[in-house]
Every structure is written in structure tokens, then in C-alpha cells.
Symmetry: C2
């Protein structure tokens, strides 16, 4: 499990949310970088402040951090930098399951399974907090709110993987890359890491290919097409979305799966404090 959406107060805030220009964008806007998912404050307090068991970790870029087959005694919150979760197949090919952006949690699978199914490696320099696996029991017993947060985050992760599955199975290279870039934009936008329509993309074409099931070479050609078609612009490691609407349409992108509009339980049964819906709306 990785790529849970759990942006934290410890995260560096950088820029303002983009302006909405149309329907789809309204969706994005309503999901302005609140940085708070339901229950997160409590979660964060529980994990980081009260128990003080979490340690700050810094790792350099291009390091394997969790290796498949080993076991792991912590889960991690990513404060800064990019990582990715991957697996090497017998035939030597690498599949990247997802990228772990700032504000996201990872490493639960490595905790919950006897041995981690996947490896996790850093792309850039990274700053993490470790949360001992032994705290999971505490969380589930002491804080229903934090438990729900974890649970919902896991459900959300499933949704993201579902979209990636659709990417790989049913979309052309052109659609896949469009969808991929829009998703990254939306995820980064939520945590304030976009600048207007641009964002920093520290990935090589090889990484993109390994995530989308394409060859480096084909990624290259396809991104050239996207540039020629005036849908995106690339300067070094900076990507600019030139035509959000067109990209959304052609790639069937909907950001609802990115869980900003996740629902609190309606009516009945809500005995937890008001905190459960305490996002600023």
C-alpha cells in the first residue's frame, strides 16, 4: 500500500490554487489544497505529536528504500520528494505501481504482509516520517477517527490503482500519457505543488514508461505528439498543461477518484465528534 492520500501539516506549501475556468476545473477548484482529509488533524496529532515515536528520515535520490521480499516494521509519511513503488518480473521487466508524492503515506503493505510484495525507491531526495507498525493497534483501539482515515485512504488507493489498470488495459499510449499527466497535476495541485498550469516532473521517460507499460522510446514519441498538438509544453523538468479540457476529454479523465469529495457517512450512527467533517469547506 502506498500513495495513500494523507497530506500533512508538515508539508511545505508553495503556491496558490489554480483558477477555475470550466466545469471540470470547478471540480478541481472545489478541491483546493485543503491539505486536510477527514480526521487527519487527529490522525496527525496521534501519530506525530502525542506519541513522538515517529522519526524524521532523509534519503538521497535513486536509493532503494524498501526491497521486495523483506519485511518492514514501519509505515511512512512522505513530506517531501518523490518515490515510487515497483516490482521486477521474472523476465526482467519493471512495473511501477504508483508514484508517491509529497503528503502521501506508504509502506502499509510492507507492514501487513509477511514480506513486502513490492519495492519502494526514491526518485529525488526525500524527507519521511516513520510510524512504527506497532502503533497500528493503538490507532485502531484508541482512535476511530484515525482508523477511518486509514481505511478510507486505503479505499482511495484502490480507486487509483483501478484507474491505472484502465490506463494500461484500455487506453492508447496517447491517452495513457494524457491521463497520467492530468492525474499528477491534480494530485500535486491538492497539496499546492503546482504553479498555474505547470508542475515539476522529476521523472525520466523510462520511469514514465515503466509506470504506464510503454517503452521509453514510445513515451518519447508520444510526448512529442502531445507537444506538437499543443496540449502540453515541456521545459526541462517542468510540464505545463496547455489544454486541460481537451486532455480530459481524450483521456476520459475524472478527478473524482482522487477522493477529495469522499463522503462522510450520512445520517445515523455518527457518534464521533464533529471532527469527522471538520474540513474547511
Amino acid at each position: 500500500l502506498s500513495g495513500l492520500f494523507l497530506s500533512g501539516p508538515t508539508l511545505l506549501r508553495s503556491s496558490e490554487p489554480i483558477m477555475a475556468r470550466n466545469n471540470r476545473l470547478d471540480d478541481l477548484k472545489s478541491s483546493e489544497p485543503t491539505r486536510l482529509v477527514p480526521g487527519e488533524l487527529q490522525f496527525d496529532a496521534l501519530l506525530l505529536d502525542r506519541d513522538r515515536k515517529s522519526k524524521l528520515i532523509r534519503i538521497h535520490k535513486n536509493k532503494d528504500f524498501i526491497v521486495a521480499g523483506s519485511h518492514c516494521e514501519s509505515l511512512y509519511v512522505n513530506h517531501d520528494g518523490w518515490l515510487f513503488r515497483y516490482k521486477i518480473l521474472r523476465n526482467g521487466r519493471r512495473q511501477i505501481l504508483n508514484f508517491i508524492l509529497p503528503g502521501e503515506i506508504f509502506g502499509l503493505q510492507a507492514c501487513l504482509y509477511k514480506s513486502s510484495l513490492y519495492s519502494v525507491a526514491s526518485i529525488t531526495d526525500v524527507a519521511l516520517s516513520a510510524i512504527p507498525a506497532s502503533m497500528l493497534d493503538n490507532i485502531f483501539e484508541r482512535s476511530p477517527t484515525a482508523s477511518k482515515t486509514l481505511f478510507w485512504a486505503a479505499v482511495c488507493e484502490s480507486a487509483v490503482l483501478g484507474e491505472h489498470l484502465i490506463d494500461a488495459a484500455r487506453r492508447s499510449a496517447y491517452e495513457r500519457i494524457s491521463h497520467f499527466l492530468l492525474e499528477l497535476f491534480a494530485r500535486l495541485n491538492r497539496v499546492g505543488l503546482t504553479n498555474e498550469w505547470s508542475f515539476h516532473l522529476p521523472l525520466t521517460q523510462e520511469l514514465i514508461g515503466d509506470a504506464l507499460g510503454l517503452t521509453t522510446i514510445h513515451v518519447n514519441r508520444t510526448m512529442r505528439s502531445l507537444r506538437q498538438d499543443k496540449l502540453i509544453e515541456i521545459n526541462g523538468k517542468s510540464v505545463t498543461i496547455l489544454d486541460f479540457e481537451a486532455l480530459s476529454l481524450l483521456s476520459d479523465f475524472e478527478n473524482s477518484y482522487l477522493a477529495k469529495d469522499i463522503n462522510a457517512p450520512r445520517n445515523g450512527g455518527s457518534t464521533s465528534k464533529s471532527d469527522w467533517r471538520s474540513q474547511r469547506n
Copy 2:
């Protein structure tokens, strides 16, 4: 969310576990049809017995049960029959995210998101229990054990989707179908729905294709190859695995992601009752 592994006592048991013949099979065997995942007994009691809010539902085959875009006030436990979760893309193609076998839970995404991202339809006649979404809060507040069960099941679902992603992105049609059949075998075997090396497969080639990102036609050709290569045998809707080892090797199949060997939290922090590890070992 669907396809959570939560086989229940209500599930009909039919046949005995297969015999182990080699290493990989030992894995399978150690995951004999216990039908109990950690905390499940309590979970089941909480959901089905104490509150008596669950209703038994029967639906006929080929019915849409949850449609994408609608909202859903329950989650469901599948007692008997097959369903699948899917999405229709703008271009008209259908992608199946997963199949929901007897003993599995589904519908959480439909509850947690304002509107369900995916549709769910029945393949065969099906018997379900409904669990009102309003009970989720109760569960998280009253039963850490059941909460953990839900959470772990969600993590497991992520793992399965991850494997499916690898299928679609990095495996050939031949490998994909092999992997797919082995996974179904393993999942059915856990709940006692296999007979020696055979199992009942109520899917059309079109459904298989839509799940794996292949054309009906190509599914057909590929399965013929598998038959000709003496790896599988097909009689009507019954599939027999002829060479488990070869299929495992060629498709990189490992059943560990199917979560029978999921780990309880080790050491420290375990204040929950012994129930947490109460699987028969």
C-alpha cells in the same frame, strides 16, 4: 471497492482442498480453506447477528446491481454466485476491474464516494447480504477488531488490483490468461470451490477479454494455445489446471498477494484480545 476477501461462515462449503505437490503448492495448501480471516468471526457477529440489520438479497444473472454514478447506502457480502465490477469508457469499451467471488465483500467504494465510480453486475444468480453504510461508524467505534479486518481487506484489494495492473501492463496475452486462471483457482480453492484441479468458470470469453484488456477473439486463440500446450483443459464451463508449475513460472504467479499469510502486528501495542490471531494455524 469490491472483491475484498472476507469469506463468511454463511458460505457453502463444497469440496476438499487440493493436495500439495510442490513448493508453490505448499503455499496454496497452507492456505487451506480456513474461511476465516483475522477478526472475521467478530466481524461477522457484529454485522450479521447482533444488529440484524443485514438482509438477504437474491438477484438473477446478467443484472446490473450498482450502476456507476449512483450512490449506494450499503455494502454487500457475496454468499453465492459471481459478480463483476466494471466501468464503461467514453469510447464505449468496457473494463472489468475484478470479479467478485463467493465469500467476498463489495460495494464500499459505492458507499464512500458520493457517487459510485464503477458499476457492479451479476454473472450468475447471486445471493447477498446487505450491510447498511450507517453501520460503518458503529463498527469503527465499537470494534477495533472488525475495523482492522475491513482495513486489511482493503489493503488486500489493493494488492490484487496491483497484480491486475501488472497483468495488463507487462504481460503478454498468454501470460495474462495463465495468471488470471491461476488466481481464480487460488481464490476459489480458499473457499472450497475447486475440485481437484478443476473449477467452474461461468465467464464468457468476452468477459475474460474485458477483464484482461484483450479482444474476445484473441482470448479465444490464446486459450486454444494453452490447451494445445497441455497446460489447461476445458470442458464446457469447467476448467482444469493441467500443469500448475509451468503456468506459475510462465506467468510469474505468486499467491502471496492473496493475503492468506497476512501478518498480524508483531510485538508491542497489542492490547486487543487474543481474537486478533485466532485463525487456526
